[in-house]
Structure formats: structure tokens, C-alpha cells
């Protein structure tokens, strides 16, 4: 057996050029997987962060009826934002920020054109506790969001030809379905990593939104930021228990429920990654099978000689399998090395998606750059896969070579 292992390892060096080509085929095919995997995981992580940091917070509180129809932005089924609710949330461990919000459909009018947008009434100070929007102001700041001031995104500003201090009118419908208008002045312009905020949302003071919509102290939902040190599930359970005790009908939802569409998309993307891996494995298998068959053909006489000297079939198979395992190990190491370099670039420099159009229209809440993420498991997986594929795919051609008739094999050569 040791002789077979020794011979297998020695054979690795006999056909250097072919083995190197096979190793490179494995390395580059698995490199593609590592790169795609890092990019997709990075995209997923950024999407989820974007949703939590700019749209939903970590947890949302809403009435079940509203939640069901939230995409329609109804002005019914609202939550009463009062001291009782604020008190319950304030006493819950793990909650580090609370932002009541009133979301409503509106038409933004600049005097010439009209555009359908989403109005978002917020309390700037509280909003800042939960969301990172405040860090992305190009002009003005969240502090300017008082009186009749509004904050809009760069894309919306460009579309509607608006600048800071311009006047806009929001045409809305009150809860009685009656037309009403809100006169606002553009107090700030933002450019965030979240495309929705940049293009479709007009932030405005909560009290003005409530007054204009005739909803009193009601809000659409309350967004919460939670401490990373405390599990989200336990905070949700704690809030649910408090609501049950106080007989409040509001429900608590994780950001994952808000981002269900993005999560579904992400799952689909992972399915795509699986498909890439299948292709990659196939390329590797073809390379190794090809290599072993060629080795078998070239060494027909040698195999005949080994059998004539008394080597058994399984020992010859072992020779080829060791050679294949060597190719797999070297291919895996080369994959990991190239993968490390490409993922390092992706993590540090990022991939500029702005050159490839607006990704937000495909439901991916990312602008500018996608950064990759490290996944050590993927490297380990690739290495193990490389060796396993090499060894397993060598079995059949090894048997094919080992079963040759020794007399005929020697005679023919």
C-alpha cells in the first residue's frame, strides 16, 4: 500500500505540464465560486443592513390589519402613539431607539410636474435614534426638519428639479378620503445607500403629517432599534407579553417580516450560487477524469508491468487515486490562494454597481458599491470539495486503467 502511495505521489511530478493545467482548471473554476459567493453574501448583508438602518429598524410595532395592507399605505388601522405605548417600549430591555412614523401616499407637486411619492412623518430626534439617515445629508440636516420643512433624496430632487429652500406641495388624502395639501420647504437633501429613500420618500415633521391627515396622535408604525447584545427574539417576546398584559392589539414584527421580499430574493440568489457550484464541480470533474484517463492510456504498458510483477488491481487504483488526490489538494490550495486575493479585493475595494444601472429596480436596496464578505467556511468547503471531487472522479478511470489485461497491455506497447 505504501508503495502505491509513494508511486502515486511520484506520478504527480511525471506529467508536470498536464497536472499543472488540471490544477489551474480546478483553481479557476473554484475561484469563480468563491468570488460569486463573497459577492452574493456581501450583497445580502448590505441589503439587510440597508433595510434595517434606513427603512424598518430592527423591530416594528403595528396593528395587524395595517401590517397586512402596509404596502398600500392605508390611513387606517393605525397605532396610537401615546405615553402608555412609549412607556412599555421604554421599559423593555434591549430597546435603544424608538421612532414613531406616519407613512402615507402623496403626490409631490413642484408647480409644474406631479409625482407619486411616499410621505413619511417623523420625529427627527427619535428617528435619529433608530436610523442612520442623519449621516447622509448633502445639504441641511435632520435638525432642519422642523416647522414646514421637508427632506428629500437626491434622485427625487433631480427628477423634480428641486433644490434646498424650494417650495413643494404634497397633495394627500385625509383619513376621510378628502383632498388636502401640505406646503413644505425643502430643508435638506440626502443621498443614502438606500435607493427607496433617495428616490421616493419625503421626510417631514410627524405633527404636521398627523394634522394634515386628521389622524390625531396616530402613527402607521413604531420602529425600534435594538441592542446587538440582546437576542431580537427575546425583545419581541418581552414586548408581546407586555402588550398582552396591557390588552393592546398592536403586534410586534421583526425586520425580517418587512424584508420578506428581499429575503426571498436572497434565497433565490443562493439557489443561483448552488447552480454556479454545480457547473464549477462539473468542470473540475471533467478535468480530473480527463487527466486520469490520459494517465491510464499513457501508462498502459506500465500498468501491465505492475500487474505482471504481482500488484493487485486495488493497489493500482490506489496509485491513480493518490495522484488524483494530490491534484485535488494542490487545486484546492490554488483555489484558496486565488480566492483569498480576489475576495480581499472585493472586501476592501468593493464592486461598483453604479456602472451597471439602477439595481434598486430589481429590489436590491444598494447604490454605489457592493462589498464582499469573508466566509472561511466557503474556503474550507472548496478545499474539501476539490479533494473529494478529485478522488471520487478518479475511481472509475482508475478501475478502467487497472483492469487492463497485462499481457495485451505490454504487448501493445
Amino acid at each position: 500500500m505504501f508503495f502505491s502511495i509513494y508511486l502515486g505521489l511520484k506520478n504527480l511530478l511525471r506529467q508536470k505540464r498536464r497536472n499543472i493545467i488540471t490544477i489551474l482548471v480546478i483553481a479557476f473554476s473554484f475561484l469563480g465560486y468563491l468570488f460569486a459567493e463573497s459577492l452574493m453574501n456581501g450583497m445580502e448583508e448590505m441589503s439587510f443592513e440597508s433595510i434595517q438602518n434606513f427603512e424598518t429598524g430592527n423591530i416594528q410595532i403595528a396593528e395587524p390589519d395595517y401590517w397586512e395592507e402596509r404596502d398600500e399605505l392605508p390611513i387606517k388601522g393605525l397605532v396610537a402613539w401615546n405615553e402608555e405605548l412609549e412607556g412599555i417600549i421604554g421599559q423593555t430591555d434591549g430597546v435603544i431607539g424608538v421612532s414613531p412614523e406616519l407613512k402615507f401616499p402623496a403626490n409631490l407637486n413642484n408647480g409644474i410636474d406631479e409625482m407619486s411619492i411616499i410621505g413619511l412623518g417623523i420625529n427627527p430626534k427619535k428617528y435619529n435614534e433608530v436610523f442612520q439617515t442623519g449621516e447622509y445629508f448633502i445639504e441641511g440636516s435632520l435638525g432642519t426638519l422642523n416647522d414646514n420643512k421637508a427632506v428629500i433624496g437626491t434622485v427625487l430632487a433631480e427628477l423634480m428639479d428641486l433644490k434646498k429652500d424650494d417650495h413643494i406641495i404634497l397633495l394627500i388624502r385625509t383619513k376621510e378620503d378628502t383632498f388636502n395639501t401640505i406646503d413644505l420647504e425643502v430643508g435638506g437633501i440626502i443621498r443614502t445607500p438606500n435607493p427607496m429613500l433617495n428616490s421616493r420618500i419625503v421626510l417631514m415633521p410627524l405633527d404636521i403629517a398627523q394634522r394634515s391627515l386628521n389622524v390625531g396622535d396616530m402613527v402607521s408604525m413604531v420602529s425600534l432599534k435594538t441592542s446587538p447584545a440582546m437576542p431580537e427574539k427575546s425583545i419581541i417576546k418581552s414586548l408581546e407579553d407586555s402588550f398582552r398584559v396591557k390588552k393592546l392589539s398592536s403586534q410586534v414584527y421583526s425586520w425580517r417580516e418587512s424584508a420578506a421580499d428581499v429575503i426571498t430574493l436572497s434565497t433565490a440568489k443562493k439557489g443561483g450560487a448552488g447552480a454556479i457550484l454545480s457547473v464549477v464541480l462539473l468542470i473540475g470533474i471533467v478535468g480530473i477524469v480527463n487527466n486520469i484517463i490520459l494517465s491510464g492510456i499513457e501508462r498502459t504498458a506500465e500498468i501491465g508491468m505492475m500487474k505482471a510483477l504481482g500488484m493487485r488491481e486495488w493497489e493500482i487504483v490506489l496509485v491513480f487515486m493518490v495522484e488524483a488526490a494530490g491534484i485535488g489538494v494542490l487545486g484546492g490550495l490554488a483555489s484558496c490562494l486565488l480566492g483569498y486575493l480576489s475576495v480581499l479585493w472585493l472586501v476592501s475595494s468593493g464592486f461598483n454597481v453604479a456602472n451597471f444601472g439602477d439595481w434598486s429596480q430589481y429590489g436590491i436596496p444598494i447604490v454605489d458599491r457592493i462589498y464582499g464578505v469573508w466566509n472561511c467556511q466557503a474556503f474550507l468547503y472548496i478545499f474539501v470539495s476539490s479533494v473529494a471531487v478529485a478522488v471520487l472522479s478518479s475511481i472509475w478511470p482508475s478501475y478502467w486503467a487497472a483492469r487492463k489485461d497485462p499481457v495485451e497491455a505490454i504487448y501493445r506497447h
Partner: protein, 233 residues
């Protein structure tokens, strides 16, 4: 005539509105009309044929660009069909505020029911002359708790012909949102009807839509089947 005017001077706001409704309410009609949408220097002309029977109406566009586009109103519901999309879409919610085929009439305006008397309280603001016609100026304010699109309306109703010559639609906070004016009246089958009117969206500059009735038949024989969803395709 003098006696008639003298008698009508005593009418209450509600009575004036009822008389206006009596004159303007069309039970059944086939109308061929042209809609001219004006945006600055650009003008878009659309032609259509509409069929009305009680609370149902079907409008079909006939100009080349929109040929085959249809709108069906049945009671309080509105559907549209665009031949290119080959799909029937129900218009509801926020979509009702969008302009009807890009005009200054919103879908909501097209949908407006004739139950205004149940939704508003009316008061006579006074009398004015509009385009050389003596008019009653009546204000309608939404009744508390009623779901209405426009909180306040102001109408100028011809004192003699009981036809609306001008209308203003206001938001809850008192902003003038839309203004309609009649440019041409005709007496058809014994009643005065506006055959050319203009609607302006007061939130936008340099835009208006002119609506011209080219032909109207007030006694058509209409089969109820034409107001079915199947007829939209």
C-alpha cells in the same frame, strides 16, 4: 319669464342644487367628445365615445394613439383596459387621483357620484354675473364624518337655465385645487347642457384640459351588456 326669475330668487341653496341636478342629470346618453390636453405649448387631442345609462358608463377612445382603450364605470367601481396590455385593471385607492388619460380630470372626478346632496351642506353665498349670465353662487361644505374628495366646492349656477357655469374645488385647508368653466352651452332636447368646458389643475402651471362634446344623443337604446367587464376586451 320675469315671474319665473322672481320665483327662483326665493329658492334656497338646496333647491337650486336640486334644480341644477334635474337639468344636468342625464339618465342615458351616447356622447362623442374630444378632449384637448394642454401642457405649456404642447397639445394632445383625444377623441372618445361614451355610453351612459344610470350609474354605469363606458368610454372608448377612438384617436389613433389610444384606439381601443376603454374605461368602464359601474356604480362606484372603475376598470380600464389598454389593448396593448390586454389586461383589465381595476382603478382604486391612490390611483384614482391620477389624471384620466393624462388630462386634468382625475379618475375621481370621472367617478363622482350624483349623491352630493347626501354628502354636503349647501349655502347660498350670493349672486354674481359670470360671462354675462346672472348666477347663484353656492358653496358646498362636506358634512362632518362624510367621505368626500373635496372638502369644499363653490359653484356658479345660471339663474335662468340652472346649469353650472363655473366650479371650484377646494382642499380641506382651503386651497383651490381645480377650477372648471363652461365655455359653450347648447339647448338640447329642451335642456341646457355644457358642450364645451375647461378644467384647470390649479396646483400646476400652464396646464388645462378642454372637453368638447361633438355629438350627443339623449335617448339612445343601450343594452346593459355593454357595461360588462367582457365588453372591455
Amino acid at each position: 319669464m320675469i315671474f319665473a326669475i322672481a320665483a327662483s330668487a326665493e329658492l334656497t341653496a338646496l333647491e337650486i342644487i336640486e334644480k341644477r341636478d334635474e337639468n344636468e342629470y342625464i339618465r342615458s346618453a351616447v356622447v362623442e367628445a374630444t378632449m384637448i390636453i394642454s401642457r405649456g405649448n404642447r397639445k394632445i387631442e383625444k377623441t372618445m365615445v361614451s355610453y351612459t345609462k344610470d350609474k354605469n358608463a363606458l368610454a372608448e377612445f377612438t384617436n389613433p394613439a389610444d384606439r381601443g382603450s376603454k374605461f368602464l364605470k359601474r356604480d362606484d367601481n372603475l376598470w380600464l383596459f389598454f389593448p396593448d396590455a390586454e389586461e383589465i385593471v381595476k382603478i382604486s385607492g391612490h390611483m384614482l387621483e391620477q389624471g384620466f388619460m393624462g388630462s386634468d380630470f382625475s379618475f375621481q372626478d370621472v367617478m363622482e357620484s350624483d349623491k352630493l346632496v347626501e354628502l354636503y351642506t349647501f349655502s347660498l353665498l350670493g349672486k354674481e354675473v359670470f360671462e354675462e349670465r346672472p348666477c347663484y353662487v353656492i358653496e358646498a361644505t362636506a358634512l362632518p364624518g362624510k367621505k368626500v374628495s373635496y372638502y369644499r366646492r363653490k359653484v356658479w349656477i345660471d339663474k335662468e337655465r340652472f346649469v353650472t357655469l363655473k366650479g371650484e374645488l377646494y382642499t380641506q385647508n382651503g386651497r383651490l385645487l381645480k377650477e372648471s368653466k363652461v365655455e359653450k352651452l347648447e339647448e338640447i332636447d329642451g335642456r341646457w347642457l355644457a358642450v364645451q368646458s375647461i378644467m384647470e389643475n390649479k396646483l400646476r402651471k400652464n396646464t388645462y384640459t378642454r372637453f368638447i362634446i361633438n355629438n350627443i344623443d339623449l335617448a339612445p337604446k343601450l343594452d346593459d351588456k355593454i357595461f360588462s367587464l367582457q365588453s372591455l376586451r
